[in-house]
């Protein structure tokens, strides 16, 4: 899924008519001061990172004046919050409020439908509300074909205890609009926590958490998003490039995540970093384990299914562009996919990256095919002459352990010759 920054989520909210506090994004302390001057009065400074719990980490600051805002921004820009360096800060007007709500619309796998969740005890630790007074949380699964009607939204809010009719209208209206955001932008989650109710009865979204289904990101080029996996850290350049492959051509499924982008972890555990291409979680994990047992660390994980050969070609180029790798292993699961497409894609990449040798690489590589069109895939490597390379082993229907063993032999022989 693709998670949006708070300010991006709020932009979507505003497009659907949900009110948000006045403010904009600052990239320097001076910009923060300028924005605070424009807003006037008390401001809130919120680092824009793709992780929750900013308040608990002490990374949300309040400023009474533009000078204070600049000072607070200076402190924040030097910080790392939950593993993310602070590069952008959302400077917003402070909204005094009497009551906080929690609102979300999310894809619930258990029901296989969207579910609206509303609580009148919004705030920092919403998870605890679910355990304490359960009356204060209401769930409602709307009919996705009919959408969420305004009266349904009102009825959801009405189920909460101690809610005035004014609140029902204000909060129900936002819930209806939040559902429109969820459906309109192919979200997996659209969440407001907290939704502030002011003394004038206005409902204002103080935060925004929006996640878009990564298979639908290509449908929203207007958002300018990189279709990147969420890895609990800032995305790497190669991950952004791999995400672009999906944006250009949404056919099939393609995932790429680096588990050791700079090779430091491999060094720390004294393992040999290898580029890795596998499809299917089970086979991927088994293969990684078998490689690890022999002293090799897969510096990335991948998954592709039902993709055109062109995407396999592009992804192979991305995997092989990790500068610290000392080998490459491709292992297919016992797949129903056309493995001939995999062979074509990888061969095209090899021939382009190693034009002088006709695709024969300069590091050890193992290609293991098992499944549909596996014989043809192996044959194709032979036809192109790549299978003859002393650094290449093309395998047919062997186990993950045998493939890892073959890679180990190749690698050891290569290292001996290099010495």
């Amino acid at each position: 899924m693709v998670r949006l920054y708070e300010y991006q989520g709020k932009e979507l909210f505003r497009k659907k008519g949900i009110k948000t506090p006045k403010g904009s994004v600052a990239k320097t302390p001076e910009e923060a001061r300028k924005i605070a001057e424009e807003i006037g009065g008390k401001t809130v400074l919120k680092p824009q990172i793709l992780a929750g719990g900013r308040g608990l980490a002490g990374a949300i600051k309040f400023a009474e004046s533009p000078a204070e805002a600049e000072k607070a921004a200076r402190e924040l820009f030097g910080m790392e919050v939950r593993g993310f360096p602070v590069k952008e800060i959302l400077v917003e007007e402070f909204v005094p409020h009497e009551k906080s709500y929690y609102l979300s619309v999310l894809s619930y796998h258990g029901e296989r439908k969207p579910v609206c969740i509303v609580s009148s005890m919004g705030g920092v630790e919403i998870e605890e509300v679910a355990e304490k007074p359960p009356d204060y949380i209401v769930q409602y699964p709307p009919n996705i074909l009919k959408g969420l009607k305004t009266y349904e939204a009102y009825n959801v809010v009405r189920k909460l205890p101690n809610v005035s009719s004014g609140e029902v209208r204000a909060v129900g209206d936002v819930l209806k609009r939040l559902y429109d955001v969820y459906r309109g932008y192919d979200c997996k989650l659209a969440e407001i926590n907290p939704l502030a109710l002011t003394s004038k009865g206005e409902a204002i979204a103080l935060d925004a958490r929006v996640q878009i289904d990564d298979d639908a990101v290509y449908r929203h080029p207007e958002l300018g998003l990189a279709a990147v996996e969420e890895a609990g850290r800032p995305e790497t350049e190669l991950e952004v490039i791999a995400g672009k492959i999906n944006m250009e051509d949404p056919r099939g499924v393609l995932h790429f995540v680096q588990s050791d982008p700079d090779g430091s972890y491999s060094k720390q555990i004294n393992a040999v970093p290898v580029g890795f291409y596998s499809t299917g979680t089970g086979s991927t994990l088994t293969s990684i384990d078998e490689l690890a047992k022999r002293g090799y660390f897969a510096v990335n994980t991948t998954d592709t299914a039902l993709v055109p050969a062109s995407k396999i070609y592009k992804l192979t180029k991305v995997i092989l562009s990790q500068p610290h790798i000392e080998g490459f292993v491709f292992i297919s699961p016992h797949s129903s996919q056309q493995l001939l497409l995999y062979a074509r894609g990888m061969i095209k990449a090899l021939k382009e990256l190693y034009p002088e040798t006709g695709g024969k690489p300069n590091i050890p590589m193992v290609f293991c095919f098992r499944g549909g069109w596996d014989k043809e895939a192996v044959e194709l490597f032979k036809k192109h002459g790549i299978a003859d390379s002393p650094l290449v082993k093309v395998l047919w229907r062997v186990t993950e352990a045998e493939a890892a063993e073959e890679f180990d032999k190749l690698y050891r022989r290569w290292k001996q010759n290099v010495k």
């Binding site: 250009e248 055109p308 050969a309 062109s310 592009k314 562009s321 500068p323 074509r344 095209k348 300069n362």
Partner: protein
């Protein structure tokens, strides 16, 4: 008549057929390789791309593969990846070479 055919595939590839090479090709392997039958031969025996190619092509690379193995290499598909090229250049400017550039 132009000696080149060029079309963009759905996977944002630039498919080019150099007809000069095709004139010397006996196999015309590309026509048999395409699983969705988008490459046909004209009266002169040269490949013609179906007008649906830019929508229907599955980017399976079968035509290019067949041409390189059995034909004269006149058919190529280029998938530009400018961001990857820039990334590799940036690494090199920092003194880091990717494996295939060593």
């Amino acid at each position: 008549m132009s000696s080149k055919i060029e079309v963009e595939t759905p996977g944002k590839g630039r498919l080019t057929i150099n007809l000069e090479a095709c004139k010397t090709c006996e196999s015309k392997a590309c026509t048999k390789a395409c699983p969705v039958n988008l490459i046909k031969l004209d009266e002169a025996g040269l490949p013609v791309l179906d007008e649906k190619t830019s929508k229907v092509c599955t980017d399976c690379l079968a035509c290019e593969d067949a041409c390189s193995l059995e034909g004269k290499g006149g058919l190529t598909i280029v998938y530009p990846m400018p961001e990857l090229e820039q990334h590799v250049q940036k690494l090199e400017a920092e003194g880091v070479k990717v494996v295939w550039r060593r």
